[in-house]
């Protein structure tokens, strides 16, 4: 298996606040292609901070993050945006679909940014919506979809750009248990059938139970790293 994320001894201190906040205090982490990894830990332990830094949305105070062989702390703002577009899929807790676009268009527009051809886009949108089970909702706008359906569209969107891995910060936090189970089914299927790597944070024990590797953060440090299944 090849190493896709290599986090080396990163620290993150927020200094804009009155009292500096040490959100991460020396985190080392390697993630290989094909992993299905959950990051867990109490509120304020630094899960979001870690995911943001891995995703190139935020920069560490010290340490380095190497993604697919590129040290992303060396990239400038525009290169970083470009890098995210090509390498990383994002799923957000609040779905963040564009309200004026249909499910199909929400999945499609990333490929538009990448400059893919119409036929390629159409084929990929169909394939992905099929995989997340929303072919019949293709022309619905986000407001016409349930939270679970919206998050499935968001997963399809994250995969549309053919990233090397997907980062999801509490993707199920807003979902009921049925939708949560359904989303997890889809993510696992994509992981097994397409070999897509997922890294996500969660509080939900049922989600943790289905992860293949569970990293526990406490107070900005990794306190345990358990690989549950082979």
């Amino acid at each position: 298996m090849s190493l896709i994320i290599d986090v080396n001894n990163i620290e993150k201190t927020y200094t804009e606040t009155a009292v500096p906040v040490h959100a991460l205090r020396g985190v080392d982490l390697q993630i290989e292609a094909g992993e299905f990894t959950a990051i867990v830990g109490p509120s304020g332990s630094g899960k979001s901070t870690l995911l943001n830094i891995i995703g190139g949305l935020d920069v560490p105070s010290t340490g380095s993050v190497v993604v697919n062989g590129t040290d992303i702390s060396q990239l400038n703002a525009n290169q970083l945006i470009d890098f995210r577009q090509k390498n990383i899929g994002f799923v957000f807790q609040a779905y963040n679909l564009i309200p004026v676009l249909t499910a199909k268009e929400n999945v499609e527009f990333i490929m538009l940014l990448q400059g893919r051809s119409k036929s390629e886009r159409d084929a990929r949108v169909k394939e992905l919506l099929e995989e997340v089970g929303l072919m019949d909702k293709m022309d619905n706008r986000p407001t016409q979809l349930s939270g679970g359906q919206q998050q499935r569209v968001a997963v399809a969107r994250a995969l549309a750009s053919k990233p090397s891995f997907v980062l999801a910060d509490e993707p199920t936090a807003n979902l009921d248990s049925k939708s949560t189970a359904n989303l997890l089914d889809i993510m696992l299927k994509l992981n097994q059938e397409e070999g897509m790597t997922f890294v996500f944070s969660t509080h939900d024990q049922r989600v943790i139970d289905r992860a293949r590797r569970v990293l526990t953060l406490e107070d900005g440090k990794i306190v345990s790293d358990i690989k549950t299944k082979a």
């Binding site: 935020d58 703002a77 525009n78 945006i81 995210r84 994002f90 940014l113 750009s161």
Partner: protein, 385 residues
């Protein structure tokens, strides 16, 4: 978008309205006061003395008739005089007019409010203005005496009876003059048959003014032929002021528009802050975000602009046919020499410039919100609820 519509409409309408007012004033001034062209003795404008008269005035008038473009013309004799009534004395300009021709030329007969215009039957008739009649307690057939110097430098005295009282609406001018029949003043001034101080010409087609002016200059080579623009430099000043005030209004509206657009677009940016955060997180670069906001604003303006222009065009066309009745302000207006019905004038040039300016303004105003959007940090934008 509303701001764009309103801004464009108001600026275009205001311009056309003021242009209408100015052109009404100029038109009135030409029609009833200055005519298009006037001829004087070379020294007359410098020194309005009776001795600076035109030797062959009548023959010039006859010759000028060959110009098809001259619709009406008349000769005048004029002098400064002291006017004596039972109520007192005042200085006044006395104008001797050719009854028929003057009526054709300036419509002075239309403005008689009491009594009658010259009909050839009255004895020693004089026309005085409403203002003077009030101040000097003059009524129809009141007697008055004018004292003035004739061309030889001798003092002459002539007595008159008020035949009519006139009111052209331009009180400032009216109250400086009285009208008497041409012949009586010509004789009293010691001028011979065919001599006069002033010749005035009203043209059929004002755009041919220069040609007609040249034709007159050819007929009257040693005389001073002037157009209304030379005779009434104040019109130029008005036009100048009009232009300045248009720019001031334009500036204010542009400013209001800029803030309106900035406000609208900032709101639009704030409303979609999470959407923008997401777009930047998944890899929409800053240039694209910037262009997106800019494009939205331009589209908004491009939708608003034609509506504003169309509305302005409709209301201007409507009012230029029907006129805007400013009856309530008629008094103030008439002292400015303007009637109380204003017809806005459609000025294509102003329309064009304003429209372009507003669209440019809108685009400039879009830059700030777009810049704000670009400055957003995706993590922070995403965290906002």
């Amino acid at each position: 978008m509303g701001a764009v519509i309103l801004g464009l409409w108001s600026i275009l309408f205001a311009t056309s309205f003021s242009a209408g007012m100015i052109s009404a004033m100029i038109e009135k001034g030409i029609r009833h006061q200055h005519s298009h062209l006037q001829i004087h003795h070379n020294n007359y404008q410098k020194n309005k003395e009776a001795k600076h008269f035109i030797e062959d005035a009548e023959s010039i008038l006859q010759k000028s008739a060959s110009d098809e473009n001259i619709q009406a013309s008349a000769a005048r004799v004029t002098t400064q005089a002291m006017m004596n009534t039972t109520k007192g004395v005042r200085g006044i300009q006395v104008i001797g007019v050719q009854a028929e021709r003057e009526a054709q030329l300036t419509d002075i007969d239309q403005f008689i409010i009491t009594g009658k215009y010259f009909d050839g039957k009255q004895r020693k008739p004089i026309l005085v203005s409403k203002g003077i009649a009030e101040k000097m307690k003059l009524k129809e057939s009141t007697k008055l005496v004018l004292t003035f110097q004739n061309t030889l430098g001798d003092i002459s005295t002539l007595s008159f009876r008020v035949a009519g009282i006139f009111d052209t609406g331009n009180a400032m001018l009216d109250d400086t003059r009285v009208y008497v029949p041409f012949k009586s003043l010509q004789t009293a001034l010691g001028l011979a048959e065919g001599q006069a101080h002033e010749l005035a010409f009203f043209l059929k087609d004002a755009s041919e003014l220069e040609r007609s002016q040249a034709a007159l200059a050819a007929i009257a080579p040693r005389l001073h032929v002037q157009s209304w623009e030379d005779l009434a430099p104040e019109f130029r000043v008005f036009e100048e002021q009009f232009r300045i005030s248009i720019y001031v209004i334009l500036f204010i509206i542009m400013l209001a528009l800029i803030f309106g657009i900035i406000n609208t677009m900032l709101m639009a940016v704030l409303e979609r802050i999470r959407e923008l955060g997401m777009l930047m997180a998944v890899g929409m670069n800053k240039r694209k975000v910037f262009n997106m906001i800019l494009t939205e604003t331009v589209l908004l303006t491009l939708i608003g602009a034609p509506i504003g222009i169309l509305l302005a065009w409709i209301s201007i066309t409507f009012f230029s046919e029907n006129g805007i009745n400013l009856g309530a302000y008629a008094e103030g207006l008439s002292s400015m020499g303007v009637g109380h019905i204003i017809r806005p004038v459609f000025e294509p040039e102003v329309f064009f410039i304003t429209s372009i300016m507003i669209i440019i303004t809108a685009i400039l105003a879009a830059v700030y919100p777009a810049y704000k959007a670009v400055k957003l940090k995706p993590v922070e934008a995403l965290r906002r609820a």
